[in-house]
Symmetry: C3
Subunit: 151 residues, 3 copies
């Protein structure tokens, strides 16, 4: 078993996979932060300590909370496929330099995507970083399919 | 490391995993397409080039966009578990014919599910394809648990 | 390939991964159950057999359905990272006792989280179980990064 973690490409994959997963997970606490800062909750039990009037007012959606939640969902839609396809890609034995290029481009594009989304930067900044991340995953999926195709 | 990708079952798993992940990822651009075609956006910066009146009108939800988004979320809820359980299943060393049956049934059921969802085909077409996909994943999870159980 | 599934830590990982994925998948049928029990659907074709008046009334959201759906999404946001990071963690060769502690804490915290969410238990029960699950994943990610870091 030790074999996998002695492979340079697999080590690089593990590093970048952990980084982008951690980035994705931080959207959870960020949602919690905005829920408290903006007073916008979705569950009755989350506002139980408050007055009846306050309760009613805080059981609502807020644009800032919804923005972070959309960013989180976009991460799930893009980072999860990257990690799953990237694992298979790393096992096809690509060149280390080529693998690193894929992993770095993806991690960079997704970190920028979050900044662009949460910061509401003018388009097409968010759109382009989203597309770049997808192209990296498509490129890895292409290598997986062209190496191992067995239907 | 090369060992894994020389195994027939693992090759078949990699092929079908890549296919269903790519299918899932295509829901992203499809959402973008419907957003532009129907003029229904969720972020201010996505309508920044438009007149004030047009802006207001296009910051809305549209049933066609929401339908594609529900289909995408359903993919996340079903395809991601398939890939994660399927990886463990492939490592338990099943018969190639049995593994291929699982993978093909799942891929077929999810592609049909998308057609049924986006095309709004009469029920129970969508419901049955959803259930079939889940049964395949349950069957693989059963083999994983009955082979390796260590609590 | 057989090597991986002979490793005790990897067996334990596979067991707990399968358990938490199955738990997550059960949220799908639970959503379906509440949709039927509460008469709250989101697709026209899901209410096609009903009278026009009934149709209109049942194309709506219901708090109980939305609660289960939020719980399901929270599972996706937390269980999927656990499985992906946990796989890499298991490959770094941790002590079995330490690995089991991580896996058991996570599985326990997420099962309790579901009970707290669907049952609307008073806070901070749900919040604490959510945080505990995240801390387990962070701890595993820390070990992965400190063992294999290759940027």
């Amino acid at each position: 078993m030790a074999g996998l973690m002695e492979d340079e490409v697999f080590k690089a994959f593990s590093t970048y996979a952990a980084i982008v997963i951690l980035k994705m997970m931080l959207m959870g606490p960020m949602t919690g932060f905005y829920r408290h800062a903006r007073g916008a909750f979705s569950n009755e039990e989350d506002v139980s300590g408050k007055s009846a009037e306050e309760k009613k007012k805080q059981l609502r959606t807020h644009p800032d909370v919804e923005r972070v939640r959309r960013c989180h969902l976009n991460d799930l839609e893009n980072i999860v496929p990257f990690v799953m396809v990237g694992l298979l890609y790393a096992l096809t034995g690509p060149e280390l330099s080529s693998a690193l290029l894929h992993f770095r481009l993806f991690a960079g594009s997704r970190i920028f995507h979050t900044v662009a989304y949460v910061g509401a930067l003018p388009q097409p900044s968010r759109g382009l970083s989203w597309i770049l991340g997808m192209l990296v995953t498509f490129s890895m999926a292409y290598r997986v399919l062209s190496t191992v195709l067995l239907l």
